[in-house]
């Protein structure tokens, strides 16, 4: 389990889940929303000090009125890291969180000793049949990000009858996603060129059955990051961190051993 902390920054306040010992690891969730402390947090907290904020406008985090883009979100999170005096850390971002992590790294590269992206959004897929979160019922879209949905990894988190709090989280994260990623749909053409200034090690974790951000997206990130590697997780869809938490965590732990040596 973790403890919740509310960090006041100059724009408002951000809720952060914290636990574990070791080097700092900042985890940015995506359009799956903040869903409390999950198995991948638990695995990672055995090797790192986890710092996992709820994105502005979700969970207990305030949404500043002016926030309308991934870049705006990044400013809020960087300011919150300043307030926490986290000046060195690995940053991990999944899906929409990967896009935000990439933006943060391109804005403030010296803070981050390593970047881990998992099924990151932020680039056009070039596939017209890519699932669209705004044209699909929310939980059906999330299900498309799993290779299998008939196991407890899926059903424990995405119950058939979600309670009021879970529905509220669905609505909050959907609104935030619309606010920052509606048009262009889930991408920013300046992301890739701006990311090339980041020269420290990067890891790209991708599920071999990711239909939301196909492997070609990982290859594009790989082509501009100066020191990066792709790790494919077998039998996983888009949300590798939710579907295969152990494989996901182990890949990050291995990566950190190499860069923190």
């Amino acid at each position: 389990m973790s403890y919740n902390s509310t960090i006041k920054n100059c724009y408002g306040s951000i809720e952060v889940l914290k636990n574990g010992d070791g080097n700092n690891l900042v985890f940015i969730h995506g359009e799956e929303g903040p869903r409390d402390w999950l198995p991948y947090h638990d695995h990672l907290s055995k090797s790192f000090s986890i710092w996992a904020p709820s994105l502005p406008g979700t969970g207990g985090s305030q949404l500043p009125e002016w926030v309308n883009s991934v870049s705006d979100i990044s400013k809020v999170l960087l300011e919150t890291l300043d307030k926490e005096k986290i000046t060195t850390c690995i940053i991990v971002g999944c899906s929409l969180g990967g896009w935000i992590a990439s933006e943060m790294v391109s804005m403030d590269p010296s803070r981050f000793s390593g970047l881990v992206l998992c099924g990151s959004q932020g680039l056009p897929t070039g596939h017209l049949d890519t699932p669209d979160i705004f044209l699909t019922p929310y939980r059906n879209y999330i299900a498309l990000g799993y290779k299998k949905t008939d196991n407890h990894e899926f059903t424990n988190l995405w119950k058939k009858e979600p309670d009021d709090k879970e529905i509220e989280t669905d609505l909050e994260i959907m609104e935030l996603t619309a606010r920052i990623a509606f048009k262009p749909y889930m991408y920013d053409r300046s992301l890739l060129p701006s990311l090339s200034r980041y020269a420290k090690p990067s890891l790209l974790i991708w599920g071999d059955n990711d239909i939301i951000t196909p492997i070609s997206i990982a290859e594009q990130f790989n082509s501009v990051l100066n020191n990066s590697k792709i790790t494919i997780v077998k039998n996983a869809g888009h949300y590798v961190h939710l579907e295969m938490p152990k494989d996901f965590s182990n890949a990050i732990i291995d990566f950190s051993k190499k860069i923190l040596r």
Binding site: F134, L135, T136, P137, Y138, N140, L171, M174, E175, T177, A178, R179, F182, K183, Y185
Partner: protein, 393 residues
């Protein structure tokens, strides 16, 4: 005062129903590969003739609207329909009900387009403004989260463009212009009348009342309509507007024949056949994605989502799925001889204190039934109802 407006969606009739049933929806992503241009051109021609007929038989206005990505309406740019009307009719008001402000993208250009229609028609434009259903925003990939904001700002900018001499600068939340100064301005002063059609949104009723704009209820359920107009009246008065019959409008589907018996025989066919065709509801499993298209992120408040259930029975399909008998019972469709139609419309007029009645019918492959219905409307219904409406003040 009682104004009658002829309304028709200009549907694309004749797409393959099996394809629609298989897809489970007839909107947004139902493929346009089934669209036949020659057939569509002929239909539009026919609808323009219907509009002329509506003027000939005595309607006060013709109502056109805007929809996208759906065979139910081949009218994605109502200003084009209105421009056609400006040239092919001579007398009727041209009611655009309305331009979907959040998706237009350029309010100043829209103000110019509407001014041109008002000029060409020599002051016959009634300009409706709507937020549009969520699917319209999705069809144009316009962020549904900002729909109301975009609507409000576009409206304010259009009004200023029409009424304040340029050039002026606009620095808004969503729109920026360095030089607003169009050299086309409306024929009517200070600007064309504005009316707001709507069905479910309490926020929209409140907004219309606040501005004193007439609110046109689109075939809403009777009890809910009482409630809506009562809320409208209280709000309008709160903002200093004197409410009269001119502030209320109601739209309803009507079919007439010489006798009640014949009208019902035809009505059942039209309702059952045409309505099932429009929605492809018969034996169809609705595509699960449709629920996401109805309420994308931030499109309506929680209160509005609840109101939708109350006013329309949960989904926009409720009108069609309730069946013919129920639709008659709920007075959501009026079918009968001229006498029956006069009585029923008069009841509605008195109940809702409406000064504007939108009349739509059921366009089908063979237009003769609906043409006869329209003719009867002109011959029998207009004179009596106008006479009965002398007490509309």
């Amino acid at each position: 005062m009682l104004n009658f407006y002829y309304f028709m969606n200009q549907p694309y009739i004749g797409y393959p129903h099996e394809a629609a049933a298989e897809y489970g929806a007839v909107m947004l992503k139902f493929s346009n590969k089934h669209f036949n241009a020659e057939h569509a051109a002929n239909l539009l021609d026919r609808y323009h003739k219907d509009f002329q007929l509506a003027e000939d038989i005595g309607f006060d206005g013709i109502l056109v609207n805007e929809h996208h990505n759906a065979p139910a309406a081949m009218s994605p740019i109502p200003n084009i329909s209105a421009t056609v009307l400006a040239k092919i009719t001579k007398r009727v008001k041209i009611f655009i009900g309305g331009n979907i402000l959040p998706i237009h993208g350029n309010p100043v250009k829209l103000a110019e387009e509407l001014a041109m229609i008002d000029l060409i028609s020599k002051g016959r434009l009634i300009s409706g403004f709507v937020r549009g259903g969520a699917v319209e925003s999705l069809a144009m990939t316009t962020n549904t989260l900002h729909n109301r904001d975009l609507f409000d700002e576009a409206h304010d900018l259009i009004l200023k463009t029409w009424t304040v001499p340029g050039p002026f600068v606009w620095e808004g939340k969503h729109f920026d212009y360095r030089c607003v100064n169009p050299w086309v301005l409306p024929y009517q002063k200070p600007h064309p009348p504005i009316m707001i059609p709507g069905s479910t949104s309490k926020e929209t009723i409140e907004w219309a009342a606040k501005h004193g704009y007439p609110y046109i209820a689109l075939a809403t359920r009777l009890e809910a309509t009482d409630e809506m107009f009562s809320f409208y009246d209280t709000t309008a008065e709160k903002y200093g507007h004197k409410v009269s019959y001119n502030n209320h409008g109601y739209m309803i589907r009507v079919h007439l024949a010489e006798t009640d018996e014949k009208a019902h025989e035809e009505g059942k066919k039209l309702f059952g056949g045409r309505m099932a065709q429009i929605t492809s509801m018969k034996n169809m499993t609705i595509n699960p994605d449709v629920s996401a298209w109805m309420q994308p992120p931030g499109f309506v408040s929680k209160e509005a989502a609840l109101a939708r259930r109350k006013f329309m029975g949960g989904t926009p399909y409720a009108f069609f799925t309730q069946g013919y008998e129920k639709a008659l019972e709920n007075s959501q469709v009026i079918v009968g001889s001229p006498e029956t139609v006069i009585n029923n419309l008069n009841k509605l007029r008195k109940r809702f204190k409406v000064g504007h009645l939108g009349i739509s019918h059921f366009p089908i492959e063979d237009p003769s039934m609906t043409e006869r219905s329209l003719e009867l409307f002109g011959e029998k219904v207009f004179p009596r109802l106008r006479d009965l409406a002398q007490d509309n003040v």
